[in-house]
Symmetry: C2
Amino acid sequence: MYVSPPDEEIESKKSVVDYKKSVSRRGVLAELYQSEVSTLAQLAKSLHSSVPSITNIVEELVAEKWVSTFGTAVGNHGRRPVLFGLNTQDKYVAALDISTHDTKLVIMNLQREVIFRKDINLGLEDNPRFARALLEFTRNALAESKVEASHFVAIGISMPGLIQFQSGTNMTYRRINQEEKPLSSIISEEFNLPVFVINDTKATVLGEHRFGLARGKKHVLAINIDWGVGLGIILNGEIFQGASGFAGELGHIQIDPDGELCHCGKVGCLDTITSARSLIRRVQRGLGEGRVSKLSAYMDHIEDIDIEMIIEAALEGDAFAIDILFDVGTVLGKGLSMAVHLFNPEIVIVDGIVVKADQFITNPIGQAINKYCLSDFRNDLSIEISQLGERAKWIGIHIYVMDQLLATI
Amino acid sequence: MYVSPPDEEIESKKSVVDYKKSVSRRGVLAELYQSEVSTLAQLAKSLHSSVPSITNIVEELVAEKWVSTFGTAVGNHGRRPVLFGLNTQDKYVAALDISTHDTKLVIMNLQREVIFRKDINLGLEDNPRFARALLEFTRNALAESKVEASHFVAIGISMPGLIQFQSGTNMTYRRINQEEKPLSSIISEEFNLPVFVINDTKATVLGEHRFGLARGKKHVLAINIDWGVGLGIILNGEIFQGASGFAGELGHIQIDPDGELCHCGKVGCLDTITSARSLIRRVQRGLGEGRVSKLSAYMDHIEDIDIEMIIEAALEGDAFAIDILFDVGTVLGKGLSMAVHLFNPEIVIVDGIVVKADQFITNPIGQAINKYCLSDFRNDLSIEISQLGERAKWIGIHIYVMDQLLATI
DNA sequence: TTCGTTTTATAAAAATATTAACAAATTATT
DNA sequence: AATAATTTGTTAATATTTTTATAAAACGAA
């Protein structure tokens, strides 16, 4: 099993020179990670170091296969600088994207380019059987990818739930763990690689922040809406986890004191209003009250109705479906406005199945924010729909893995 | 008028050596600020530098009167090290603590020891007259203190309201500013000193975090309860301001959709339940319904009842007052639980007039958090009552001023 | 095409920081 | 009380980094 070395010991053993070198190495890698390619001069400037020093470090990183050259820049005035970037050949990150419906394994190089992808119809379940199936799938997929085992630097996992980030334990799906061992340890042991687990919505906001719509913004909220509601938070340009890794639990904030009972045991949670079950009930009630709608077609097997069908109906102009989306959006906007008051973000990114509904969902959300937020908070705030789609999550996993990994380099 | 130099220009002009030196100097000052006194060896270790280098920097800072020696340490094994700490003689910070009831001016040395204090019965009002009165008071108080003008390094101001931290403009009290000039500029111009403005609750949480109950904690919420509700937030060990400086606006989150109209124009804000007006109405209604209470004594001039009187009655065992505090605490706890879900803090500190009610307010708050928070959030969370009192705010102003100031050294 | 300007890259010189060495000061141990 | 063990503080030696200088490469204008 991969054992990450205890930090303090290393630090205390290291000489001052070694420490500073390590900081510089990390700085160079982080800079190249964000900028794709860069020149020695640019690196020297942004790392507050001299060109000869940076040249040394980069040469070392090239020898270690972290970095490679990418030709020369063009267009400038003087001599053309050599471009350096993260090596796209010899080091890879495997990302496991686990949702309640299916699981995807994506292999990316250091530049986040997907070089292999395999999907499996394995939805997240809270039992040890899931862990075994996931391990099996991962083993097969990695073998199938034909990437040499020694070329993997780490495995990243994104999944829903409250994830204790220090240990990688998912508190919402506790029965996945085998014999007190968290999922991350099981996988780490199997492949002898460091494994990092991150909540799916947090992964998404990381992707959107570093390489999507929220690029360069300091404070970002990303709300992911499908069967539940998740909130990913970037503060001061970094993912915000909170004390245990649970920060951003918007779904179980009480929205309606007279609402229905939530599976968490509380009443009127935001989740109870956006959940599939709640939607079905709403449709049922509406149709029962004689509302005319395309959704009546599903009257016989009403349990199969999900938010995707309602969105489709709305896009086709169905008034009943549009009303339902409006109600859902209003409640989401109300919940979001609380987060806006507390976080005062620059941008809110909306993500998840719901984005297909476009205006039908963003309008009520915007409207609710206007209604429930103080004007000073709204003035500098923009609300956007994610454009990276599922890639945001993979990129986010990659970013998280690299962030954790760099801390040990 | 004091003009802070534009950052980028300086940075680009500075050589790499100068930049690194500046970082080290700031590091030493920050370390001494937090540790009161420290040895060269300790400084070297925590700043990842060698003892000779640190010796150089400290000698320089001693020459500039930032640092002085504090004798030698005792108790250790070998030779006794010389202790260094921030100079308590030659540099001072003036703090203006402005509330809606009164204003205090406090002069502190670099070690946050109060060497002068003057109070004035001048409550914050939203008009230019207030700014003039404040200026007058400040001028007199500083003169009275007999501290040489050249010995002041900066002025810090704490006040309620939404404060745009980049400019120091208070958006809630806009009419304080004269001819488009924010209050901070007016004062800065008058005394030719850098002026930094911070929201009062944010100042409090800074104080509690660095030198109070929350010392060393990474994620801290401090809720200040008197006539309104304020939330101060420490995340990753630093004050969290949000994009504009408005983060933590808990008071205008909707708690009760059927509640009363708030002065902000919205309905059922948390503030409407804890406000003095709302309390009075509640007392009035209760007494009208025939409740027996010591508060009946105020029946004739019911408008004068404030939360302090209710607390006193509760402490004397008055059941009606206890009930009212219970209700208020429950609502506060409900609001807090939203913040707990979003921030996942390690500790919540309760502050403000309400702390006099002790158990009568912390019990319902704790109870509500139990009711409205998921258990995973409660497990590692402690709720404590502030012990620094009014000093927390002054210390917080001092911390904020020094943080800002150090960035320019 | 040639020359001046601009930028990069490398080599040498200068500056700076770290390490190692040792003396001084203090505590624990014999 | 003397000695060993520890820790600090200073100096000198070593190592590293930055700065300066210079050559190479590219572009644009005359």
